[in-house]
Symmetry: C2
Subunit: 381 residues, 2 copies
């Protein structure tokens, strides 16, 4: 492991589609996105036969900065820094790691707040409704640009796991192995419902202005949406253990409506922190992409048929207390793969952390991924 | 069972505390509420020895109209009409049923939208923060007014169940039996969190105006809060069965943000219907009362100690797919009662309906309640 003075430094880079002469990204909705840019970061070194590249796909609120620091003084490293780095579970001394911000995002890649070249103004709600497959199509362009012939592995949790699944069926020859974590092959109606309520909160914010906000942003609506989503990332058990019914500042009930309970204070903090780093329109577009994700639907309702395209080896991981993407949904993926006699390992990790476990159970998850990747490197295929 | 022409007719009545000379209701928060009125309804006939009275306590969005119709042409009967009426499970040919709207409510009883006699204006957010115990104190005044010496049973689900538990420990000599259904002895941090987000949605609505709305009401915020709460009343399974990923009006994704999925359309409908009949400030006050409900806390954290006051026979009922007030929370009540060697029957009803099951599994629940009540009538105690 590195010490502080040798901290892994990563540099955000931009890939503009125009740089390779083909500026068109066709989308599932029928529209075409132009002037696309992907923000991405790399860590480690691509080996000579280009066989050690791993794509990390991020979750709803993630970005390209998955590991290391941009500057030694940065207060925090990338979002999966405990997993990825020199000597870590996804070892950048061994692997070449790539992570890019999804299209529709707000952390460097083209999204609803980008300038529409046709109008010279922000897209806002005129941005086309993108899908998980569209995100993957854009990443595939980046892969070509980086001259990577095949990913040793595509690894991601939550919405990142949806991208992993898409990769495995859209570009089977270019994905040697796939690690979908705490995810689903089709978003459940309950999750669609939560997304709907979150977007309602954003779009009802007086500052939202049909997405055309400038100085005054719909931070209250976005904060409400985030707080709601945050509840679904935790488990009843972890909330009981972390907060219980503890009061925040007093031994007695305040008999008022300000934050009285520790859990209220925590949510408020999470909401406020989120609006500093995330955009409301992006939140709408990315949650909508998740709503539309249904791998089974495209093969007439058969997940097995849909996954039959994949040639990758799979490692599917779920967490016991995750009620947003419960183990049963991971098992649906595993059963479909087994039905096709595809190569799949599966583990449900015991954890009380709920959906957030994919970011918190680093040692258990990391040990599993490290072993899986080592095996992938050895296997000729 | 009655046919349409003999439909049970019920009449809403108002009990003003002032009518018996004592207009003061002391509250847990230390304040005193004056000019209190309770809206209530009765069905059936009080027998000579006044031993057949049953109090029905309602849930968050309920009211005093638990059974029958106010007028034969009413489109819908009271909220628990399948349970209560002539020849029904809680048989008004046998029992005298009373149900009153809680204080803090918006269906006839004194609440935040009532006129504060001190100012001549609506209380709005100056209304005192009430508790479940305060609701029960007010109901107890109604009981005295009706000259009922003891309830044969107090019966209620969800927040109604909290009132049942309060009754059993606050007025043990006046409660012969208690039926808390789909409820908890202390609101969990997860539920506190959902309540918080719901109130944020209301209070961020530009029309809310710190609760001082008049013509323009915060219906969007209230609708968002209701939609969120509604998700927690259903189960993942019931949503999957009822809506799945079905689209509302088309065979293809709309690639937009209007209601595309059936579950979105359903939620939107529920939200819109709710704002027609419920008040935003009441929603804030009643959810806050639930947040503060913790029967264990008042006896130094011991639910058994707290429940030791009760002398009632208990029938505790939970539903297998209720994740808002899961069976484990009902079992906490049962275990505490058993520890005290109190008389308790318990049943977890198998149901896929989630928390809403207490209103939907009428036959299973009703059969159980009917038997329990019949036994209570026989037992001398």
């Amino acid at each position: 492991m590195e010490n502080e003075s040798t901290y892994l430094l990563t540099t955000p880079q931009d890939y503009a589609f125009a740089s390779d002469g083909d500026d068109f990204l066709p989308l599932d909705c029928g529209q075409t996105l132009r002037h696309v840019t992907l923000r991405y970061e790399c860590a480690g070194t691509l080996n000579e036969d280009k066989s050690n590249a791993i794509l990390i796909t991020h979750a709803l609120s993630g970005d390209a900065h998955c590991c290391g620091k941009h500057h030694p003084d940065d207060r925090k490293p990338g979002w999966w820094d405990e997993m990825i780095g020199p000597g870590k579970y996804i070892d950048t001394n061994i692997y070449f790691v790539v992570c890019s911000n999804v299209i529709g995002g707000c952390s460097g890649s083209t999204g609803p707040r980008s300038i529409d070249p046709e109008t010279g103004k922000r897209y806002n709600m005129d941005f086309p409704v993108i899908t998980i497959a569209d995100m993957v199509r854009a990443q595939h362009r980046l892969m070509k640009f980086l001259q990577i012939p095949r990913w040793l592995a595509v690894v991601g949790g939550s919405m990142g796991g949806m991208q992993v699944l898409e990769w495995s069926v859209m570009y089977p020859d270019e994905v040697k192995s796939a690690v979908p974590i705490a995810t689903t092959a089709q978003l459940s109606p309950q999750s669609i419902a939560f997304d709907w309520v979150g977007r309602e909160a954003i779009q009802y914010d007086a500052n939202w202005q049909n997405g055309n906000y400038e100085e005054k942003v719909p931070d209250r609506g976005l904060s409400t949406a985030r707080m709601l989503a945050h509840i679904t990332y935790l488990s009843d058990e972890s909330m009981a253990r972390k907060f219980g019914r503890n009061l925040q500042d007093s031994d007695e009930y305040g008999f008022n409506f300000s934050r009285d309970f520790a859990v209220e204070s925590y949510l408020q903090y999470q909401g406020r922190r989120f609006v500093e780093r995330f955009d409301a329109n992006s939140y709408c577009f990315i949650t909508r992409a998740m709503d539309y994700f249904d791998l089974a639907d495209r093969a007439g309702g058969s997940l097995a048929k849909s996954l039959a395209e994949a040639t990758a080896d799979f490692l599917v991981v779920s967490f016991s207390s995750d009620w947003l993407f419960p183990t049963s949904q991971s098992k649906d993926i595993v059963h479909a793969l087994l039905k096709n006699q595809q190569n799949v390992s599966f583990c449900e990790i015991e954890s009380s952390y709920g959906h957030d476990a994919f970011l918190l159970e680093v040692d258990t998850l990391g040990t599993m991924i490290r072993g899986f990747l080592a095996h992938q490197q050895e296997v000729k295929k």
